[in-house]
Amino acid sequence: MNQAFLDNSLWRNIYCVLAGDSAQCAARDYSPGMLPGGMEWLAFLLAAAAIVGLFVNGVLGGVIVLIWGERRLFGRFQSRTGPNRWGPWGTLTSVADAIKTMFKEDLVPAEADRILFNLAPILIAAPALMVFSVIPFGVGTYVADLNVGVLFIMAITSLTTLAVLTASWSSANRIAILSALRSVALLISYEIPMALAVVGVIMLAGSMSLGEIIQAQGVPFILVQPLGFFVFFLAAMAEMARAPFDLTEAESELAAGYLNDYASMKFGLFFLAEFMAEISTSAIITTLFLSGWRGFDPIPSHFWFGAKLIAVLFVIIWFRMTLPRLRIDQVLKFAWKGLFELTMINIVVTAILIFIWPQPTTAQLWYMAAVNWPVAIVSIWAVSKLLGTPAYEQTQPDLNAPTYPVGSEDIPASSAYVPEVKTQTSLQEGGD
């Protein structure tokens, strides 16, 4: 076993309990005392099972709390109370919802591709859980500190779109197909600015390992990399299809998009995955830009992480409650013409700064922040000017004009007056 991998992680803590000899553990000796010789693998297996159980149930519990919190916040934002009937302050509402979802009838459409239809919920839930394996929730509380942690996150979060595509294709529903096409377009567009926004962070930390990125954050990178944070936050919102980029679900257009034909716990898995993605995205933002579990000493690191996570979640929910949805062409334009340029500016500026201060100390990080903030403000302003919609040139007509325009005998070609027989039949032909 890789010694460095075992040291200082959840594996070690759980393994030590199983091994039953803390002196051995403290001495970094991983030969088990409790188990007979040659049974080392069993201890590792049990530790792995314990970790999976802990993480999956922990994340699911987090989702239950998040759903309740989000609903309460929705209520507050909309000047109403939110759920408050079931349990103290309505805390058991999402538990009741979960039970209800499980006992619903499991419907499968007649024309659905049954294998893919049943596979899609698993496909979406598994990656959403896997992301949590690399996130450090506190000192020593992580499953694995991969040296390509950021790359792993990028790869795993993209799998969501595959699941959406599978779900919509297999349910044989045209509205779902439209939703899947939008989902793919969103992924292709926003994966690039998202990855490029992290490049600045990787350059500063000199590593793709999340543990080392946290170690490098003498100053939280949100201060050193404001542009990177801005782009990463928006791209992450698009990646998990949250408002104002919730085009794949688009309640008021597609009703629910790819979720249309799902019922019971299959729907429940999609629902869980959506909220797990929300938590994991917030955790990634916390780790990359808000210095993860770092904080002042008397308070444990887990509390710092939790507090920052909740702050990011609050902002995401705030966005969702406040903003209307963008149209698909605007969303893509924003990614390619706005965010892409911003990341390029960010990479160039950060590269120059790294060239000046190759191994930045805390003081040098502050100098970098002092350079990066004006750059960020000016470039975001410039992009908003370039992409913004120009105002109307004239709005108020001249009320003193002699007459208003009147209807003419030459009726403009309008389908409202002349029903086109051709279009009517083509509608029926196109139907099947």
Binding site: I177, A250, Q330, P412, S414, Y417
Partner: protein
Amino acid sequence: MAIKTQPVTVNLGPQHPSTHGVFRMRVMFDGEEIVDVEPVFGYLHRGSEKLAEERTYTQIVTLTDRMDYVSSMLNNQAYILAVEKLAGIEPSPRGVWLRMIAAELQRIASHLVATGFLIQDLGALGTPLIYAMREREGILDLFEMLCGARITNSYLRPGGVFMDAPDEFWPALDRGLDDIVRTIDELETYLSGNEIIFSRTKGTAVLPPELLINASITGPMLRASGVDWDLRHRAPYDYYDKISFERKLHTASDNYARYWVRIQESRESVKIIKQCIEQIEPGSVRPSFDDVPRLIRPPVGDAYAAIEGSKGELGFYLVSDGGIAPYRMHVRASSLINLTLLRDMLIGGQFGDLFVTFGSIDLNMGEVDR
């Protein structure tokens, strides 16, 4: 390599969260672009016009409430004007002022609903809608003080209204008007200046004013195209000739212009109500039963009266054969007529704009199907 593509027909509605009731569209898409639209309606048809032939003239007021159920007072007003014209009834002044106040309050409520649902169709998850509906609640509370009902008011009677406003109504109305102005300011701050709303509504579903006039479109849709046509100004009914107000127009004729005109009209309605409060005079709210009996028997003939409803020209055509019930009633439903340009607005547009454009017409399925 050219990829073979094929338009896809999708059925939207009648069970759909954004169809403002039960409306169905068969839409043909080429990718995200709309190629063809076939509207299907009639799911909420209740036969109101036929039912009216079996009711007395006073009873029909309750039927009109249920046509456009977010602007009952305006429906009442249009119907009562037609009855008064048919039977030659001289309304009592206080009743007329009261029904003007009620009608303008209802216009604000209807525009708030239209604006709230438009933003809902744009994808905001309910927050602007609930802010608009909260203000509408205040107006409904005022209606409750006036007549005891909130939605289906049946407040108006031939010759006026059925009861006078209680004393508590007037201070409540003053407070309510202040609240309305504050809410409209709030909505304008957060919505008119919002880049997402502006970029999504500007330049979408543009209709030339000539086409609108040819299709006899009326109301905010027509005024958003720069045509100065408001029946309160062009053909004043009730006491609108004693009232001065600005006609708010916009030249763009797109979704944003329609939204903007509604917001500005709500402000003007507040001004109109304030003038009504100043000019209202004491007296009876309706003629005595000696002059206008409960069972009206208008002389043989017909009459058409129209008002500027919240959605356009709302007209009632009544034919009398001298009996206690009309021989025939027909409604010029502004929602239905405004809907006729739906295809022109939608074809060539994006799927994302479909329900926004649909919402910007501000139609009410209860009025379309009747």
